[in-house]
Symmetry: C2
Subunit: 217 residues, 2 copies
């Protein structure tokens, strides 16, 4: 697996950990920290120091003896790898509670993604404004995506509409689908990047840990 | 890591995959399937057949040559390990869009968890009903938890209240906290099971994959 932008080879296991590094480094930056040792980062993140050194070495984040890691350098590097600097534009399809919860979250802005509109098929919602965002009718989807160079569609609509909508989005050339519908959408079939979110898996980890007397993940 | 109920040793890597097995087996059951081969399950789940055999052998789910796995047996076994059969009772603290999105989802019922009430501190919300559920004032939390044998608290409140609320819940003897606030709550500090949800990590995996031209996780 190769990252085209940096030519560093990054394993998929490291990639799954990068969003966590991103979060912790961001917190350190916001707290004004300039540098951090692998042992301190290890303690914060509950990962071994050797794992951290190994992960960060993958993309040139070499720590220096007696200095540690440069927080801003690492944060910038990881941001680039994760595409935070690309300024992706997104729309949310489904203006129910979940869609509106996502709109209200600072998560997108922190990760360089701009939400530009909401879509729904409900007559009660279409045409209204939510915060700064307009709620469009789902029939306006095709034109809107083309005119506004949308990269990402967030699916927060009922699961019955998931597959058809995803196929329509793929045909429109959308780059990525963030799928909250709990329908397993397939990258191969669609021909576009899909990230399926299964919040219930996290609930199952919680109940597993309660059931097995609280041991840590 | 040992599961107290079965005496099988299950590694934490397997445990992270169990919720996915649970989902797929449930779909097979709902579709009336009685048995499945490791190769078919492998294709569905995009995991190697040998990985599946290795995972399922951990808790006695031995497949039989020419027969495959008994879907109902596996589903029941995994449900037990994950605590689905325990009938855990939960409350949701924070009746904003995210809290209401969770209440409206079939996720809890499918996983054996019953939501029994919502809590909020907003005068506009407290005292109202949402579906079958009453929205209580946060000041009623302590009494409610004790009287109703609540096991799990779902935190969907603003992050500023996260730590204090979690400490209060731990002191009340709650068994597990499902934390959506994006504040990293610590198991060791609280002395109760915490599952922190970071939806933004999933967004970062999406943008990473778009940025690196669509390769699969």
């Amino acid at each position: 697996m190769e990252n085209k932008n940096t030519n560093y080879r990054i394993s998929s296991a490291v990639i799954k950990r990068l969003p966590r590094y991103f979060r912790y480094l961001r917190e350190l930056l916001e707290a004004g920290r300039m540098r951090i040792s692998s042992s301190e980062l290890s303690k914060m993140m509950n990962v071994t120091a050797s794992q951290i050194r190994q992960d960060l070495n993958c993309f040139g984040g070499f720590g220096q003896q007696g200095y540690g890691y440069n927080v801003k350098f690492l944060y910038t590097k990881i941001s680039e790898i994760l595409g935070v600097d690309k300024g992706y534009r997104a729309i949310i399809i489904g203006a129910g509670h979940l869609g509106l919860a996502l709109v209200g979250s600072p998560m997108f802005a922190k990760r360089g993604v701009t939400i530009s509109a909401l879509f729904d098929n409900s007559k009660e919602l279409v045409g209204k404004e939510y915060g700064d965002l307009h709620i469009y009718d789902i029939s306006e989807l095709d034109g809107y995506i083309k005119e506004n160079s949308i990269d990402i569609a967030v699916l927060t609509l009922p699961r019955a509409y998931a597959k058809d909508t995803a196929e329509r989005l793929a045909a429109l050339g959308i780059k990525g689908i963030w799928n909250f519908t709990n329908v397993e959408l397939d990258f191969e079939e669609l021909g576009t990047v899909v990230q399926n979110v299964h919040i219930g898996d996290s609930l199952m980890q919680l109940t597993y840990r309660i059931n097995s007397s609280g041991e840590e993940e």
